[in-house]
């Protein structure tokens, strides 16, 4: 599904050079549920951003579906993200001005798709996360768990094959966290490849495989 070959990421400012990732080589197979663990600042989120084509690596190669990504031109990576990748963020990042349905619809707005088809897909995604009755609510009217479920609906509405979740339960209590994990496992069983960053070893144990990072290097 996605392969990273000797990937590094270095952030440079005027005086400081910070190595966030150093020689990472990882292959995520189709249908896998992989967790990424490590202490704060070890490069977990950076790894996820590189996998999701949100950030270009400083060195090495990222291949998606066997095709290496070159150039990282805005239009091309935007199209790849739209078609193949879905994101779930720790702090949900729902747009407060838009209703639940409008938030979920966002990835479809950047495809040439008829309005009726968009509405059908939004309804299907909301049904999968059990929030059909909340479609016209605004994010601030929902609980944390419900907001994260909206974020998951938004991530899967475009039917991406790769779902990248950055601490999806980090802002939730344990019960809501379990609900979200249940949704993610169900999606994985239905064929979605998932890479999830987490601090929680219990959640990591429930995935197929765990990648451990320390100071930007892969230790396991």
């Amino acid at each position: 599904m996605i392969r990273l070959q000797d990937v590094s990421k270095v952030y440079r400012t005027d005086r400081i050079e910070t190595t966030a990732l150093d020689g990472i080589s990882v292959a995520i197979e189709k249908g896998a549920f992989v967790s990424v663990m490590g202490p704060s600042g070890c490069g977990k989120s950076t790894l996820l951003n590189v996998m999701g084509l949100l950030d270009a690596p400083s060195g090495g190669t990222v291949s998606l579906d066997g095709a290496p990504i070159r150039g990282y031109r805005d239009r091309e990576v935007a199209a790849l993200r739209n078609a193949k990748v879905g994101f779930v963020f720790q702090s949900f990042h729902l747009i407060a001005d838009l209703t639940v349905a409008d938030n979920v619809e966002i990835p479809l707005l950047y495809r040439s798709m008829a309005g009726a088809e968009r509405r059908r897909r939004v309804a299907a995604a909301l049904e999968r996360v059990g929030l059909t009755s909340r479609r016209d609510h605004f994010p601030t009217q929902l609980s944390g768990g419900q907001q994260q479920r909206v974020a998951i609906a938004r991530a899967i509405v475009g039917e991406p094959r790769l779902l990248l979740a950055d601490e999806p339960t980090g802002n939730l209590d344990s019960q809501m966290g379990e609900e979200i994990m249940a949704v993610l496992h169900e999606l994985n069983q239905q064929g979605t490849t998932i890479v999830m960053v987490t601090h929680d070893s219990r959640l990591a144990e429930s995935t197929h495989r765990t990648i451990r990072l320390f100071d930007g290097r892969q230790v396991q």
């Binding site: 951003n49 999701g52 949100l54 950030d55 805005d74 239009r75 935007a78 199209a79 993200r81 739209n82 078609a83 879905g86 994101f87 963020f89 990042h93 729902l94 747009i95 407060a96 001005d97 838009l98 409008d102 619809e105 966002i106 990835p107 707005l109 950047y110 495809r111 309005g115 938004r154 475009g158």
Partner: protein, 411 residues
């Protein structure tokens, strides 16, 4: 585009305070511009008697200059009578005086009115709306017949609201017979405006006939298909052949141009070549843009400050496939929708302000209207305002790095 519009409206409706502040700035700016456009339209637009500006060339200004002397002002009858007749490419031409304020007494009442002396062709070059009667013709001018055309206001003041044709009144020591009554012409239409029109030959003396600089103007109605540049060129050639019988002056200059450039050159931009209306239009646009500049900058600042507020949204949209171009489009559409709403508010306010101005009598017989032409300019100005104030913030927002935007960093 439909969904972009929908999102734009939702964003504006949800952010009521921002929308209110922005709308106020946009609406007030556009209000001032629309009122200005409506006034310009009242002066220059194709309406009233001057309904064929594209086919009309006018001669307003003349100048005599010599080594030590210079005299300029309205054109003189002598200049116009030597240059306008039988001009190739011209269907009709007319020579008429500029309005003059006169006071008279009628049945014990003091009446002040503006009079204008014209030839008979005046009524064919300019098309007045006759309420009753008809214009006087060339015979009245040739025979100095004591006739006059009144506007409705003058008719009411002299005779009351009934029919006036055939009735007489005294003006400037002559008794005149009314042959026609026309609808009021706004005073800003300074080629045609008057309360009373009468033949030029009714002047007390014929000294005016020789003057090269005086208080007259000329207008030419171009024949269909004739080129204005050719007629202007021929007029300039003829001006060069007019003899100057005053030793103090060596050169006579005058030009035939459209009403817009002639007026702009005469009043607003004296010294500019009236044959270059493009420069004048450019200057007017520059003034409009400068006037829009301050509120536009204000809106730019407001929008830029909202980048912080909308960083997460930008990050999310980019994460899910929005290109920088799509985001520029979205933010521009939002700004144009805002400007559009401001334009609607401004149009309503403009209609109210114009109605108040028309009723106030500040500009006699003013008929400032929010017609389709003015509205068209309003739409154009609104679009310019929306785009000018939206481009920079849209571009800045679209350039944000998705990861930085999601984390609230704006490098």
């Amino acid at each position: 585009m439909c969904s972009t519009l929908k999102i734009a409206l939702k964003v504006l409706l949800r952010r009521k305070f921002f929308t209110f502040v922005s709308l106020f700035a946009v609406a007030f700016t556009l209000l001032v511009l629309l009122v200005s456009v409506a006034m310009l339209d009242d002066v220059f637009g194709p309406q009233g008697p001057e309904d064929r500006p594209d086919r009309t060339l006018v001669v307003l200004k003349a100048e005599l200059s010599g080594e030590h002397s210079r005299r300029n002002g309205w054109a003189g009858y002598g200049l116009l009578s030597r240059t306008l007749p039988e001009m190739p490419g011209v269907e009709r031409s007319t020579i008429f005086a500029m309005p003059r304020k006169l006071t008279t007494y009628h049945e014990g009442r003091k009446i002040t009115c503006f009079t204008r002396r014209t030839d008979g062709e005046f009524w064919k070059v300019f098309r007045f709306d006759f309420v009753e009667g008809q214009p006087y013709g060339d015979d009245a001018e040739a025979q100095a017949l004591p006739v006059a055309v009144l506007n409705e206001s003058a008719r009411d003041r002299f005779f009351g609201p009934g029919s006036a044709v055939g009735k007489t009144f005294e003006l400037d020591g002559r008794r005149l017979r009314v042959v026609g009554v026309v609808r009021n012409v706004p005073s800003l239409r300074f080629l045609t405006f008057a309360d009373v029109w009468l033949p030029t030959s009714l002047s007390r003396s014929d000294g005016y006939k020789k003057s090269l600089v005086g208080d007259f103007a000329g207008a030419m109605l171009l024949a269909p298909g004739a080129r204005a540049a050719d007629v202007s060129g021929e007029f300039a050639r003829r001006v060069g052949t007019v003899p100057i019988d005053d030793d103090r002056f060596k050169t006579l200059s005058a030009s035939a141009s459209t009403l817009f450039s002639a007026v702009a050159s005469f009043f607003v931009f004296e010294g500019l070549d009236s044959k270059r209306p493009g420069v004048i239009v450019g200057v007017l646009w520059l003034l409009a843009i400068l006037f829009m500049g301050l509120p536009a900058l204000n809106l730019v600042n407001l929008n830029l400050s909202r980048i912080l507020e909308r960083a997460s949204e930008i990050g999310v949209r980019k994460s899910f496939g929005a290109t920088s171009g799509a985001l520029v489009r979205q933010f521009l559409v939002e700004n144009i929708v805002l400007a559009g709403l401001g334009g609607v508010v401004a149009a309503v306010l403009t209609a109210i302000v114009l109605a108040v101005l028309n009723r106030s009598g500040l500009v006699p017989y003013a008929t400032f209207t929010l017609n389709l032409r003015v509205l068209g300019w309003g739409v154009l100005l609104t679009l310019v305002f929306g785009i000018v104030s939206g481009v920079l913030p849209a571009w800045r927002m679209s350039r944000l790095h998705p990861v930085g935007a999601l984390q609230g960093r704006f490098e």
